[in-house]
Amino acid sequence: MYNYDSPVMERVQDRELADRLMARDERALAEAIETYGSAVYGVARRVITEDTFAQEVAQDTFLALWRRPGAFDPQRGSLLRFLCAIARNKAVDLVRKEESQRRSAEALISETHPGRAVTHMPQLEEQDHMMRALKEITESQREALVLAYFGGRTYREVAEELGIPEGTAKTRLRDGLIKLRGVLAGDKP
């Protein structure tokens, strides 16, 4: 279930872009890059140490969208979420093969602190919404989520790097997501 509404205009734009991509309209791809490129590149940079590798991953993400536009289903969520998930998976694949591209736990945790603007770039409304939601989970839950998702760590590695028992790592990941889901669905914390 898609459990929160991103702004209506972004959703309408997504549908229209998806239709035009299916019709092999290259300008639609250029528009998708213009709208979501910075966010997608942001994900790749979060995961990978070297910018050139991150750029390649982000570019590959848009090429994947171009090759298989039908893989994006507007019913399941926004194009932004879809592209960021592809970028994350491609980036994590890379760092799991190339140890040297792995970000340290300290870097991952400090750079993704909510409210800490890494750049002064304006955010999409959906991102703003997410950043606000992230402030509602505990610091330790956020750290575990960041390490697992953007760090590409398994829950066992999360436990090791944070110096906590494996059971605690599992619980933090699960409880963090459950809490986040509640906040996004509109529950009052």
Partner: protein
């Protein structure tokens, strides 16, 4: 492999949804999730939250040549994509020609049990009639279909000549232009039925080439059969 208990699997659903499972435990959790409606629903729902979390990395200013690099690649691939019967197509172009495919996991097909020629022909026909999977065609009149069966896939082909001496047919599943070998095979009376562990849902294209006996790591020639 021991079966994973419901409670144990539930504890792991967060890590599972985040793609943070160690290899050894992943299969066990997945097999529980597939057989437990409650866990499947929860895993789906948490995956949805993970997708939302994924947009929180923040924006990064794009390098100057970012967009041009993508659009150039798209343009370079454009001319080779158009004709389906073009004699030579690059692997990237093959992948680029495929739009989105929706696959459903079918019931067990029972194909490998087919012994007699008549049975084999019937199995091939059944595969051809399925709506899911990849349909392959080639210039020689041969046709084939790759369909999802259980955790893997099955290729059913008909109209293929025996591979030349010292050669085998090799099946490739391709994702984003990256071919992965799904096994080598030969044909019997024009029919081939080949089982592979690779799951079709991870790939966007299927192709068959003729390769030296035993097959190669990467295809060396043009496909004799290709989906798209």
């Amino acid at each position: 492999m021991t079966k994973m208990a419901h409670e144990e699997a539930r504890e792991l659903l967060g890590a599972y949804a985040l793609g943070a499972m160690p290899e050894d435990e992943l299969k066990r959790v997945r097999s529980h999730v597939m057989s437990c409606e409650e866990c499947m629903r929860e895993a789906d729902s948490l995956s949805d939250t993970v997708a939302s979390f994924g947009i929180s990395a923040g924006n990064a200013p794009l390098p100057a040549d970012f967009s041009d690099g993508i659009l150039e690649t798209v343009r370079e691939q454009r001319p080779i994509v158009a004709p389906r019967t073009a004699p030579r197509r690059s692997w990237l172009a093959v992948a680029a020609g495929v739009a989105g495919l929706t696959l459903t996991v079918g019931a067990l097909f029972g194909m490998m049990a087919a012994r007699s020629q008549v049975e084999r022909q019937e199995k091939v026909l059944q595969a051809m009639l399925r709506e899911d999977g990849f349909s392959l065609s080639g210039t020689s009149g041969a046709v084939a279909k790759v369909i999802p069966v259980g955790d893997g896939s099955v290729l059913a082909a008909t109209g293929l000549r025996a591979a030349p001496d010292g050669h085998d047919y090799q099946l490739w599943l391709i994702e984003d232009g990256e071919p992965r070998s799904a096994g080598v095979f030969d044909v019997e009376d024009g029919i081939a039925i080949v089982e592979t562990d690779l799951a079709l849902k991870d790939y966007d294209t299927a192709a068959v080439t003729i390769e030296p006996d035993g097959g190669l790591d990467k295809p060396s020639g043009d496909p004799v059969l290709v989906s798209g």
